[in-house]
Each structure stands twice: as structure tokens, then as C-alpha cells.
Chain length 197, copies 2
């Protein structure tokens, strides 16, 4: 039987939806200083170009951080760990218009290096970004940004090789409405074509 010519009875066809997973759930910081700053949880984020290094975040215009980012044209993406899961979820559910998210989550703002907004001390890696373009798409506006600086927590850097071991802090994975830990290692990029002696 040629399975190319018949429809697949094992598939259900759904209405269009946001079903691309697994994703990072990052804490995006913004503001003009450590004292005047906010954070927002974002899963609609991704790398869009390798060189220059660029990424995007998509944010609803109704969110408290939206006008802040639009005004300052910068934000910092802070990667999250399983230990930060509760704070990450909380910052995505609550609004900076009603809460001081630093006080409520217990996360620590540290002065940015190339950004005026702080980064999060507890994050293993923070990515300072400058907005290049804003595209309105519907419920969300996409902030297209260039990476200007990467701040990595030294405790995860191998002192001999200088390599950053991103698996060690235990990254947080967001998948279809659920938070997960990262699981077992399978292989390095290119493992499928590696010659074995």
C-alpha cells in the first residue's frame, strides 16, 4: 500500500493555533534604571539571525512593559532555570502596574552593562538587546532586536576551557501550557554524521 496517496486517518485537523513547542520561558527586564524597572515573562521569543546576532520578543500592547520597551527601545532577556519556575510563572500572570515584581519574586536586579535596565542576578545568562524594528501582527507586536551584550554567570563557565555549560543550571522548558525541567542529554549537534573509530 502506498501511504503517500491516501489521507492519514490518524491525524486530527485543528483550527490554526500556537502549537510550536518546546520553548524557553524567559524573564524580560526593561526600564530606565535598577530602581525604575519591570520584568515580564515571555515565551514568544526566538533567535532570528546568527550574524548579526538578533532575536525577537512578541508582547501584547496592553502589557505594562510594552510602552516601557517602546520608549527605551531596549530590553534584556534573562534565561530561566527550574529553580526560577515559580517566579517565572508569577511574573507572567501578574502585572507590574499592580506589583513590584522584584520584591514579590525575590529576584535581584543588577545594573545593566550596555542597557540602562537591570538584568536578573539569579539568571544564568542575560542577553542585552536594542530594538531595531516593531511590527504589529495582531494580538502581539514583535520587537525585532539586536544582541549587544551577553552576561554569563561565571559559575557555569569551565575555567580550563572557557566553555559555558548551559545544561548545568537546569534550564526551564515551557511546553503547551506546562513547565518542565530539561531531561537527559541525547547528543551534540552533528552527532548523526560523526565518524566512530
Amino acid at each position: 500500500m502506498n501511504n503517500l496517496d491516501i489521507p492519514n486517518p490518524d491525524r486530527q485537523s485543528w483550527r490554526p493555533g500556537t502549537m510550536l513547542y518546546p520553548l524557553p520561558a524567559v524573564l524580560v527586564t526593561c526600564g530606565t534604571s535598577v530602581e525604575n524597572s519591570n520584568m515580564i515573562t515571555v515565551a514568544w521569543t526566538g533567535t532570528i539571525c546568527s550574524d548579526p546576532a538578533m532575536l525577537y520578543i512578541s508582547v501584547r500592547p496592553s502589557r505594562h512593559s510594552y510602552p516601557i520597551i517602546k520608549e527605551t527601545m531596549e530590553f534584556t532577556v534573562n534565561l530561566t532555570t527550574a529553580a526560577m519556575a515559580r517566579a517565572t510563572d508569577w511574573a507572567g500572570v501578574r502585572s507590574g502596574s499592580q506589583y513590584n515584581k522584584w520584591a514579590e519574586t525575590g529576584l535581584t536586579p543588577m545594573p545593566g552593562q550596555l542597557n540602562a535596565c537591570p538584568y536578573i542576578k539569579e539568571s544564568p545568562l542575560s542577553i542585552e538587546c536594542k530594538v531595531k524594528q516593531i511590527i504589529s501582527l495582531g494580538t502581539h507586536d514583535m520587537f525585532i532586536a539586536e544582541v549587544v551584550n551577553v552576561l554569563a554567570d561565571s559559575q557555569y563557565i569551565n575555567p580550563e576551557t572557557g566553555a559555558f555549560d548551559m545544561a548545568r543550571p537546569g534550564m526551564l522548558v515551557y511546553c503547551h501550557g506546562g513547565y518542565y525541567e530539561m531531561g537527559d542529554f541525547i547528543g551534540r549537534f552533528g552527532f548523526s554524521v560523526k565518524k566512530t573509530r
Copy 2:
């Protein structure tokens, strides 16, 4: 001591780079028919809008799939599992100009529903997309697309609730050059504000 006023000695500042993780490593299918199709592995992908449901993929113009997608203005995103890790890695390292990737990976092309290009039978969920805009950024061009159809493997749908259990197939996670399984469940979106009786 006020840690807001001193620089953090525990951070190393790096040159700009693509350090946003964990990410999905999806198999993107393209082409004009099941017989005339290709696949390419993409980690530079993400949801950019909830309604209308939109996502992007970023692809180097030198890739074999690039002119195919530009010509047909459609592609299908196929989510990947740990069981598909070897095929996913292989399709990202090898070129469709030199190999028939279907034959080499053993993956099965199935006729698309709203797209002319096939989807991958072994993928738990496939997302048919139509390209709306192409933005040149540098090494990569970003294909901004609208989701037109979602094809879900029935074996992961709970027959009683109709809910799709995306954790069950064992999703593949890509993090900083390594492939990983998805690990332990932490909580549902909103768990940090859930009242306990």
C-alpha cells in the same frame, strides 16, 4: 551592602551571540508535492503572534530549501521527539541538493492538507503555514508566516477530554549545541497563583 550599586564580579561579558535557549529543533518540510519535497532542520523558529496564530522560521539563503519556500510561499513545521533526534540532526547537517532526505532518514512524507508540501508522519504535530513576509537580516532571512492548519497525531489525544498531551511523545529540546529529552513536569501555567484549599 547594596548589591544594586556595584558591578557583579560573578558575570563575564561576552560578544553578542545567539544564546537564547532552550529551543525547539523542528523539521520544516517544503515543496510542491510529496514527490517533489525537501526537509530542513530549524531551531531559529518561534511563535510571534497568538491571534492570528503566526510563527517564523529563519533560514540562510544558501540552504537548498530557501528558494523552494520563497517560490511556493508555504512550509510545514513538524515538531520533533527524542526518537527523531538522529533524523533531526542529520537533516540539519546534510543538504537536500545531495541527498533524498526522506530515503536517508526513513521519515515518511504524507500529503499536506492545506499545503502542497507534505508533512512528516512520525511527527506528533505538524503546523501548515503560509508565508506573509520575508525580512533579510544578515546571515538569515526571516519568513514570517500565518498558521493555516494544525495536524495532530490522534494517538496523543485523550479521547475523553479531546486534549492533546504534548508531553507524551517525548519532545526534543535543543540547548546550546546539544539535544536533550524533556524532563520532569514542574507545574501548569498559572500554578504560582493557584489557591490551595
